[in-house]
Symmetry: C2
Subunit: 208 residues, 2 copies
């Protein structure tokens, strides 16, 4: 007896934020309705792929008409769990930490930075926008107390694994890692990487 196969591919999940982003620009342009064809052209992918991806989660369109932009945004936000606000912490108050602490796009997209930590005594207590940098020593307590699930780490590569281990110990479930090093995490913990060097080195392959 075949199981109902309801495992949605990770690669599909990865495209949903892309769709959401494009739809939000349509709202800014006061466009009410779109189609898989139009979205596909904007994003440079195939219309069939967009329809197939969306159909994993329900029937959000109308034949002959397409998709209501606002409605599809609402559905995507529900699917991605960004129809509420997630509190996020930052570890590392260097240049990158400063940059992401002030990043203006998190708010509208479901994320709120609530604390910045560092273990350097010279940085503890300094101000970044609204927050003052807190001692990493109090980090686990604050994670537990505020039930925070998401962290962004911007510490030196040499410290990244240790910091991640501490974060997971304290209850963090998702990590966005700016340190240029591969981190090991147990199953069930999400980790994503941002490393501009990787992108640049991929592009130079094709240059000259």
């Amino acid at each position: 007896m075949p199981e109902n196969n309801n495992e949605i591919p990770d690669i599909v999940i990865g495209r949903l934020p892309l769709y959401l982003r494009a739809l939000q620009y349509m709202v800014l342009e006061e466009q009410m309705v779109t189609s898989s064809k139009e979205l596909a052209e904007r994003l440079g992918i195939s219309a069939a792929q967009i329809r197939k991806d969306l159909s994993q989660f329900g029937e959000f369109g109308k034949q002959g008409t397409g998709y209501q932009v606002e409605f599809l945004i609402k559905k995507l936000r529900q699917i991605l769990n960004v129809d509420t606000i997630w509190d996020v912490i930052i570890i590392g108050a260097g240049d990158i930490g400063h940059g992401i602490a002030r990043y203006p796009n998190f708010g509208a997209q479901g994320f709120r930075v609530v604390a910045v930590f560092d273990n350097n005594p010279n940085k503890i207590g300094t101000k970044i926008g609204d927050f003052s940098v807190q001692d990493s020593a109090v980090m686990p307590a604050i994670i537990k107390q505020s039930n925070i699930k998401i962290a962004m780490i911007a510490v030196p590569a040499s410290q990244a694994q240790l910091v991640v281990d501490d974060l997971i110990q304290a209850g963090i479930k998702a990590i966005l890692n700016y340190a240029p090093i591969t981190i090991n995490v147990p199953k069930g913990i999400q980790i994503q990487y941002i490393d501009p060097v990787m992108h640049l080195q991929k592009m130079t392959y094709y240059l000259k």
Copy 2:
């Protein structure tokens, strides 16, 4: 008569910088030799995949022994065209522009930031580390004059497409885009995206 199929998949190219990064940490740890198995464990991928990827470019290992770390690094840098230094410019002198202008990892990885541009008169002439911010108006001339091929853009989403069009017009061939919007570029131009929100939204799908 079958053509020699020497088109290397883009997805393979994307993994090479990851291998390179891991190998460089091995050098720091004074490890001389590695194996596909060890690399695979570090990176959380399969050993077969690493061997297959590398074999696209040559035979870099020895049976029974594995790979000489320094030698493989040298080969990967050649393949990726990062065995020389690429000059890179930054457009946009806001928080993100500041952050990447001071990013410490570019130098050792084949990239050198040589200029930062902005079109805001309040920012033009201000200092970021060693450079002063230049007027975007002079950007095309400088790109041509210095034969710059790579740009990183950190401007508002609303300006990103226009800036990219200008850059390509001036001769830029590869763009790392920090603006949270999909950009259209002609064939033959490389573009890569960095958007922390996308990564966060992908992870929240799996949370609770």
